[in-house]
């Protein structure tokens, strides 16, 4: 048993090391190449000049946001997979990101951001996500049991409805709004507002912390809701609180970085293969690896076709969608969907 904890510690260290390498790579690559030797001076030293500005004010904030958003998406994915006992659910496939994006788009169209200032968009995203999640949950319950096919279908439909509503909003609003919505839908970690970046960091770290109060319910839920109750878990309350946490994570991510699909699907899936299904190690590992993965994708997105930039959602969508299909095939073979 002690060996298990040691193994977990080593795994966490491994994920931290890999993520650190990704961060350093991201800091040094781009239009302006920075050598490894120069990095500490630019990062920690004081000085003026283009190099300092690029590293400290452009690349570093972007990396921090990437870590927070990637971690948050991955964490909400792994939590949702635990609650639903299905490896294919994540904020994107359940339509939660779509719901959050409607919330955000509505606030842009109606010019609400001016009302309470900077934090209006994340708030709107959170509300949109929460409403969608409970809607999907309620619609996919049949006589007390969650039907997995129904749930995925409802999620897909909610995504469609969300994108239709987006079209509707786009076609009826001013061209100025269209520009800001489209720019934001495509998904980008380019966020100039440091207040929002700190909000994302705080939200994701806080959620990670909160989620650790629910490792027992999540671990027990691996056996299904009924068996979890037999182990003394109040499943209804736990699931509802976990829903609020995942909605918060998704809402804040979507409002800042747009819809970035599949991070919450690929990372937990790969991490589970390495760590096993115990949520005590799974939550923190998914969080770190999710952050690292998104920073890596973002680095690729801004360097592949430099000086232009790919929307980050395009990259995660292509990679993640393919993995989704592979996973779905494997599951169908085991016929988990029944």
């Amino acid at each position: 048993m002690q060996k298990k904890y040691l193994k977990w510690l080593l795994l966490i260290l491994l994920f931290i090391v890999v993520t650190s390498i990704i961060i350093i790579h991201s800091l040094t690559s781009g239009d302006l190449k920075v050598s490894l030797a120069d990095l500490p001076r630019l990062l920690f030293g004081q000085g003026e000049g283009v190099e300092f500005t690029i590293i400290k004010s452009i690349r570093l904030p972007r990396i921090i946001l990437g870590l927070a958003v990637g971690g948050a998406l991955s964490l909400s994915g792994v939590i949702l997979q635990g609650v639903y006992r299905n490896p294919l659910v994540e904020p994107y496939t359940l339509g939660i990101s779509g719901g959050a994006s409607i919330g955000v788009a509505l606030t842009i169209v109606f010019g609400l951001p001016q009302l309470i200032g900077t934090y209006m968009l994340p708030l709107a995203g959170f509300i949109g996500a929460l409403v969608t999640l409970f809607l999907v949950y309620i619609l996919s319950i049949r006589s007390g049991k969650i039907k997995i096919q129904t749930m995925l279908l409802v999620g897909v439909m909610v995504s469609f409805i969300a994108s239709s509503i987006m079209m509707l909003l786009l076609s009826t609003t001013t061209s100025e709004n269209i520009h800001s919505i489209i720019f934001w839908i495509m998904g980008s970690l380019d966020e100039p507002d440091t207040k929002l970046i700190s909000l994302a960091v705080i939200t994701s770290l806080l959620s990670l912390f909160l989620s650790y109060f629910f490792v027992q319910p999540l671990n027990a839920l691996r056996l299904g809701e009924e068996k979890a109750r037999y182990l003394g878990i109040n499943t209804d309350v736990s699931i509802k609180i976990l829903f609020v946490i995942t909605s918060l994570l998704t809402g804040v991510c979507v409002s800042m970085a747009g819809v970035i699909g599949f991070v919450g699907l690929i990372i937990p899936h790969l991490i589970r293969l390495i760590t096993g299904s115990d949520f005590r190690i799974l939550l923190i590992s998914s969080f770190i690896a999710g952050g690292g993965f998104l920073v890596l994708c973002d680095t690729l997105a801004r360097t592949i076709i430099a000086p232009n930039e790919l929307p980050i959602g395009v990259l995660t969508g292509m990679v993640g969608g393919s993995i989704f299909i592979v996973v779905l095939n494997r599951i169908n073979k085991k016929s988990l969907i029944d």
Binding site: F213, R222, E226, Y230, G232, N234, G276, S277
Partner: protein, 271 residues
Amino acid sequence: MSVFFDIQQFSCGYYRKFYIKNINFNVAKGSLTGIIGPNGSGKTTLFKGITSELKPKEGKILLHGKDISLMNFRERARNFAIVTQNIEEADIRVEDYVMMGRIPYHSKFQFFETKNDIEIAEKYLNLIDIVHLRHKLMNELSGGEQQLVSIARALTQEPEILLLDEPTSHLDISHQIQLMNLIQRLNAQLGLTVLMIIHDLNLAGEYCDYLVLLKQGEIYKKGTPEEVLTYQFIEDVYGTVVITKTNPLSGKPVVFSVSERTLKQVQDNRK
């Protein structure tokens, strides 16, 4: 003095659908009780009532005189360990699965298992004799092995009562007997009170101290196997012709089914 486990005037069921009513029986501490009855007689509904998955409509269930519907989930899980019959799909290692039986004893934010938890889990891994499976994943095991692991997990909960839902249903005859012998041994050695749903009347008659026979959501007959497993009662409840005899070794009742053709031949011979 209050009865150990007492079900009083209990009724519960599904909304507008099937429900069980007027269930009255009690279970003595250290006994092995079987709930029998045909398909659709309410065995599973009663089971879900006892596990509090279904809310009581009337009546109550008392453990040591305390109403179990007033217990919280954690308290119930310390008193009742439940082994269901479904196959486990989760990819959890056997030793971790057994350790999950300690969850009801963990504080809300307890991250690591205590020494005591590990000792208890080890004890039951050894007692059930599944130490060799400890590093395997649950979904790699056979149905029989899964049942053993589930029972080890249930014992790790150190419950007052062990509830089993048709523990032998997926097993062949040798595994059925092995499992029932194990349950009997646990019952005798640990003084564990066992309450189980059991389909097979002969296993029920051979192993249980006390039987509760259900028919259409109500108790038809309760008592010792000798009192309950008579051919009149079985024919009336199951609607099929049987012959009952006594097992020459154990002295317990045995039920034989009779095929339609045999029945016809017998009737023809009589004419």
